[in-house]
Symmetry: C2
């Protein structure tokens, strides 16, 4: 899921997407650009080899088209291709994504001479686990800092940042689910109070980030969430807890919404939990079973 | 999903399965044999062409191995391969299964000279919609009836049944979900009462068949159900209604269970309903989207 420091010039974003989709075996799943952030995210998927190749080509195209030293936008950034997280899908594991992130970092430094920082599960040092810590100071601050502070030296390459491309922050993480619950009230204090109670940072549910927001035009309020590990805290657990807290405030859930894409396994877990299913696993789903059996036959 | 009149001789059931799995492009998903019923069901899947071929080969193997005139078992039957329903999966439609059923019936009569009755969505007459109506009298009764009653004449072939293989009842229907809900009580009257209230035949939920049973060894009771059209009455609607009625009896749901396999779409519908999701469809599931996009690329 590369994040590019370009969200205004459509022709450039098209060229970045083409650099990715030109790799056989890769499909572009989703693309979003924000002109205020001046940033685009292009989500693509495939087997490890083509995904690695597409990531390197995307970085090459980014350094050709984007000059981060001239970039303006409200979103923090240190590179033309700013952040490059690898996310496991289907049978892939987080460990495989860490390996892929490290390979991608090595190739980008070797072939394009853009320095690399690793973050998330791909981090090589505890102080680089969090993206916001790695990105502190942004391009301008970090370009200075590396010249005087050895703790800021990139994991590959450097110490100086690339003059146009900055650095690429390469990582691996589990898929994140963006999930909102809308409440039948206009009182945003209720949303803020519930958000505070459920977010991990104030002692709530593990792997849940939450904000309370007004949806003024609809006369509702929203708990806007990121679920950073839906296996640790499944969606229906979040729904049930928000529902319980809303009831304490005398308020009902109007609806909930998934933003963007959600992995199949999250649906299976939601079904199992909401129906109190005993003895359920993904091989009980006809299409999953057909795929598993078809793969087994092809391997023979 | 062919139903064979053999559930005791493992070697024969193995041979029937092999006749099916020998067709390239077909996978056997599930197999079950019951010695009291003296009957086996072998569930297999694939694209229309190989599924049709496997159905014909299965029928040929059944007439070779099974003599229905000597068959004994508690389950009613008219043929060696007794019932052959085609069920839509994935992007397939019920109309395509009707077409496949009609092709299979024609081939079985043309190539094997076993007469065919069509039932379910493949029925050509209203009095043959229900399987139990077509099968009335079983092999022995129907073999007599066709000689004197023209309304009993098969849809293809006949009028006489095949001396060893009887007739094949070929059909098309939506997938059936076998679903049970277990209640925390030993009072089977509660299960029977709820089953009666929810089953379609006594004015309850559409496309739901239900029985109340004791689970003596576990100290629970069960509502045992067949959902014959989960799109008309989704699983969570059944769960919510049973939960509501159980609460009126002062009883809780212990758990529920899916028997056998369930289509992916049922999980998507369950997730959408249980989370009150607005604006959800199957293309929001990452793996579905990857499949759709990969197919589109391969077609280019």
């Amino acid at each position: 899921m590369p994040n590019f420091s370009e969200g205004r010039e459509l022709a450039r974003v098209n060229a970045l997407e083409l650099a990715i989709s030109s790799v056989a075996g890769v499909v572009v799943l989703h693309r979003t650009s924000d002109p205020d952030h001046n940033r685009s995210v292009i989500t693509f998927a495939g087997k490890p080899e083509p995904v690695l190749e597409a990531a390197v080509r995307a970085t090459a195209k980014a350094v050709e088209l984007i000059d981060v030293s001239r970039h303006q936008g409200v979103h923090p950034r240190v590179g033309a291709l700013d952040v490059l997280p690898f996310v496991p899908l289907g049978p892939a594991t987080l460990a495989e994504c860490v390996e892929l992130a490290h390979k991608a970092g090595q190739r980008i430094w070797n072939e394009l001479r853009i320095p690399i920082y690793f973050y998330g599960a791909a981090a090589t040092r505890p102080d680089r686990m969090k993206l916001e810590d790695v990105r502190r100071g942004e391009f301008e601050g970090l370009a200075q800092a590396v010249t005087v502070d050895q703790t800021k030296t990139p994991d590959f390459g450097g110490p100086n940042l690339h003059p146009r491309a900055g650095a690429v922050i390469v990582g691996a993480r589990k898929i994140l689910i963006a999930y909102n619950i809308n409440l039948k009230t206009k009182d945003v204090r209720i949303a803020k109070s519930i958000a505070k109670q459920i977010r991990e940072s104030s002692g709530g549910l593990k792997a849940v980030k939450a904000l309370g927001l007004p949806l003024t035009s609809r006369g509702l309020v929203q708990i806007s969430m990121n679920l950073t590990d839906y296996e640790q805290t499944p969606i229906p657990v979040v729904y049930a807890e928000v529902s319980r807290l809303a009831t304490l405030h005398g308020v009902e859930i109007e609806e909930s919404e998934l933003i963007g894409l959600v992995p199949r396994k999250a649906l299976e877990m939601t079904t199992a939990a909401s129906l109190k299913l005993s003895d359920f696993d993904s091989q009980r789903v006809i299409e999953n079973r057909i795929e598993t059996l078809s793969r087994a036959i092809h391997k023979r």
